[in-house]
Structure formats: C-alpha cells, structure tokens
Amino acid sequence: MLSNGKKMASVSDMYDVGWEEMRDKLRKWREDNCRNSEQIVDVGDELISEHSSKLGDDVWIIYEQVMIAALDCSRDDLALTCLQELRKQFPDSHRVKRLSGMRLEALERYDEANKHYDAILQDDPTNTAARKRKISILKAQGKSAEAIRELNEYLEQFVGDQEAWHELSELYINEHDYGKAAFCLEELMMTNPHNHLYCEQYAEVKYTQGGLENLELSRKYFAQALRLNNRNMRALFGLYMSASHIAASPKVSAKVKKDNMKYAAWAAAQINRAYKLAGHGTKESKCSMKAVEEMLESMQITMS
C-alpha cells in the first residue's frame, strides 16, 4: 500500500488533532451529508485502525461512513474490511446488506447487486434504500430512460422523498426534458421555500426553456434566490442575463422593456460592486473593473 517503506504523515500529526476531534469532524460531515470522500477516508482510516476501542458504539456508524467513502475513492481493501466488521456485528441487518450491494455495484457486478436488493425488498417491501440503489444501478449502466421510469414509480408511492425528486430533476435535465425537470424542482421549492439553491436551479431551467413567459419567471426566481441569499453570484448574473434578454426581445412593450433595462442596470451595478470588493487591496483593481465592464457588455444579447 505504501511505497518506499515511508510512513505517510498521519492526519493527527499533520493537523495536530486528537481522536475526539477527528470523531467529531466525522460526525459533522455525516450530519451535513458532505461527499468529501478522500478526507473521510484519511481521517476515518486512522481513527478505526488506531482508536477503534475508544470509540465505543460510535465505531459502527463510522465503519459505514468510511466504507461508503472508500468505495467512492476505489479503496476496495478498506471497504471490504469495514464491511466484514459490520457483517460480523450485525449479521441479519438490511442496512448491512445494502452496503454489500453497494460494494458489488462498485465492482460493477450489477446482477449480483440487484439480487441482493431484490432479497431485501422481498423481506421488506417498504425499504426505500434498496429501491433507490436499484435505480442508481440503472443510472450507472446508462439506462436513463428506465431509470426515469423506475424513479417515477418510486415517487408515486413515496411522494415526500426529496432526494428522489432532486435526482429525477437531474435525470430530466440530462435528457433535456426541461418542463418535467421544472416540475420536480417546484416540488423541492415547495418543501424548502427558504433554500436559495433550488430557486436558482429552477430559474436556470426556466431560462434554458426559453420563451418570454419562462424568461419572466426565471428573472423572478433569480431575484427570489438573491433575496434569500444576497451572496449568490450565480443568481446575480442570471438576473442580469434574463433581464437583458427580455429587454432585447422585440416583442415586448415599452414599459416592460424599460423595467427590464432598469433591472439589468441594477444587476450590473451590483456585479461591479462585488468585483470592487473582491479586488480590494489588490493592485490590479482598475484593470479588473474594466474587464468586468467589458464582460458585461459582451453578455448583452443582441437579437437579430
């Protein structure tokens, strides 16, 4: 595993932390659902190889977390060790069965993995985790149409599963079916009205769909995303783009044109301000401000 017989610096040495801080960091990553698999593998590997006795009952959930991260980083050896420990401790658990299915997926043995999940579902038809893994297998195999169909059926029964709605919206975006993707994002916006990212994604989908009505909607939702989080630069640029796009369209009335030009001007001013703040203290601020203005100019939509 380690070449030249050199011992790699351990995480605790590099950052000067004790095992409790490492365990707490892992818990924070677990609660926030972060996918920083390499960091999890580094921290978790050291934690379980050297401090497993001190962790008590926490060790099992750390095994699960490290195993999934190890599969993400192709560390099959580490994943297998974690899985074996879990299997020894919880021999009949569906949760552990799902993990062995995931390992088979990582090794691309999809048929065996499917058998695992079918066995879980036979025992417990309401097990959502196994159904979602089956859909991921379809996605991994590239069968997006089937994956979409299965996910739709799943969502018909479990209408409240937000993770699934988000996944479905991504699948639809990949298939360029923006109308249906917008529907999924609307579900997410309803259940999480204060999440600015869903508003922004919805606005982007509407912008991509095109057409005057959709552009108006996208401008509104970019504005909403900005209202929820003033720092969302992507939404700020989106607001600028959608407002200038509407203003440049030949079919709009004079009042709408004037309003949208006002919005676009405001957005441009805010962008300038943001770059000015970012360039504070650096010597190139004058040049970069000019670059920003030129960028904004070039982004103007010219309708033929």
Binding site: V11, Y15, V159, H280
Partner: protein, 261 residues
C-alpha cells in the same frame, strides 16, 4: 377543625418513604428493559406510508403553494381536487375495522402492554398496602376534603384525622406519576416506563399514526385544498430586492480557507 400537628417518627421517613421511592424507580427501570426485550417490530403497511406522504404533500401545497408559479399550483390542485379525476375523489381505501378481539397482532400487543404495565402496578401497590399499613406517611401540602379520606388513608380509621395526611399506597401512586420526568432524564425520551402515557394511549383508543379511516382524512384534505387561493409570493420580488444594495458580507474581504480542521 383544629389542625393536629402530628409529629411523625423519623424512622418512617427512613424506612418507608425512601424505600417506596426506590422501589418505584427500579421497578420502572426494569419495566423499561423488559418492554424492550418483548418488543416486536410493527409491520408497516405500504399503502399507509404512501397515503400519509400524499396527505403531507397536499398540506405543503396548501401552505407553501405561494412560492411556485400560479399555473403549477393550479396543475397540482387540479390533480388532487378535480371532480372526476382528482386523487382525493378517486382514492377509496378499504377501511379495515381493527377489532381488538380478532386482530391477533393487536391482541398480543395489548396483552404484553397489560403484563408489563398494569400487573406490576397492582402487585406492588397491593404489597405496599399490606406491608406498610396502619400509619400515615406524609402530609400533602394542600388541604383536601373529607371525601378523599377513604381513598388516601387506607387502613386508618381515625375520623378526626385531617384528610391531608396520606398513607403509603397513595405515596406509591404519587411516585409512579412523579418519577416520569426522572425516567426521561435517565432513559431518554420515549421510554417504556412512562406509564401515564400508556394510559393516555389506551384512553384515546386505537389512535395510530394514521387515522383508521383514510377516506375521512382525504375528504377533509379535499375541503381544505378547495378553499385555498394562490397568492404568489414573488409578485413584487424585484422591487423588494432592488430597494437596497446587496449585502455581500465578509466573503470578499479575505481568502476563504478550506482546511480540514
């Protein structure tokens, strides 16, 4: 009526009051663990899960529908409430009356519940009544009427004794309810030693997570959704946003550090 200030023997406190507290406490803890051992997994019905989620979605539509465009809201409302094809109109669930006598799983659950909760209470209450009879334990801090005397002063036949003086059996019952907060401190929330909650459950009847009649729930949800109107929250969002400069906060003032710890 004169209030005889009785002076109780301090050995009563040592040998009666405290032992009863300990007995109640430990019996409660034992009950909690025994319930956990005998606990059988509740089989959850797929349709119930799905129905409860649908009702949740409808409720969210009512509450947060103002965040999505008018047409989308109308589309979803139509899906739920349309006279012919609406979900709440079409879905008719078979209502299985859960008769406690015939439904085996509920019967065993009830028996287990009785065994672990009611039986110890009766046994220990009776033992305490027999073992610690013939004297008063303590005085409740508020005055009670004479009607309470036969209940709270078992085994003592003194007509002139104030009803505030109680015997051991009532002290036991006081403990059973009073130690509830102690249990939640030690055993965590939702523990099986919580007897009063068990009795509350029995009183509210067969009230499970989903009301036994989903059809009624659907009907009430249909009515609630009918009257909801769509008032778009984004009507004036641009004006509100542009009334002042954006607050970028501190993110541009320094380099963001992305270290692990």
């Amino acid at each position: 009526m004169a209030d005889p200030e009785l002076l109780l023997d301090s050995s009563i406190r040592m040998w009666v009051v405290l032992p009863i507290v300990f007995i109640t406490f430990f019996v409660g803890i034992i009950r909690h663990y025994v319930t956990q051992l005998l606990h059988s997994d509740k089989k959850v019905d797929m349709e119930q899960v799905s129905d409860s989620q649908v009702l949740l979605r409808s409720r969210i539509l009512r509450e947060n529908g103002k965040y999505i465009p008018r047409q989308s809201f109308a589309m979803r409302k139509h899906f739920f409430n349309d006279a012919e094809t609406g979900f709440f109109k079409k879905a008719k669930r078979k209502v299985v009356a859960k008769n406690p006598m015939t439904d085996t799983s509920m019967l065993t659950d009830m028996m287990k519940g009785n065994l672990t909760n009611v039986l110890p209470m009766i046994v220990i209450g009776g033992w305490i009544n027999w073992a610690f009879s013939g004297f008063v334990i303590t005085k409740v801090p508020f005055p009670l009427t004479l009607r309470f005397k036969p209940m709270l002063q078992r085994g003592i036949d003194l007509l002139s004794l104030d009803a505030s003086w109680v015997s051991s059996a009532s002290w036991y019952f006081l403990n059973v309810f009073g130690l509830r907060s102690m249990y939640s401190l030690i055993l965590g929330q939702d523990n099986a030693a919580d007897q009063s909650r068990v009795m509350q459950d029995q009183m509210t009847g067969a009230a499970m997570a989903m009301p036994p009649d989903p059809n009624k729930a659907f009907k009430s949800e249909w009515e609630a959704l009918e009257i909801v109107e769509h008032k778009w929250a984004l009507e004036n969002v641009e004006e509100e946003l542009m009334s002042r400069d954006l607050n970028f906060g501190p993110i541009f003032s320094q380099d963001l550090k992305c270290a692990m710890f």
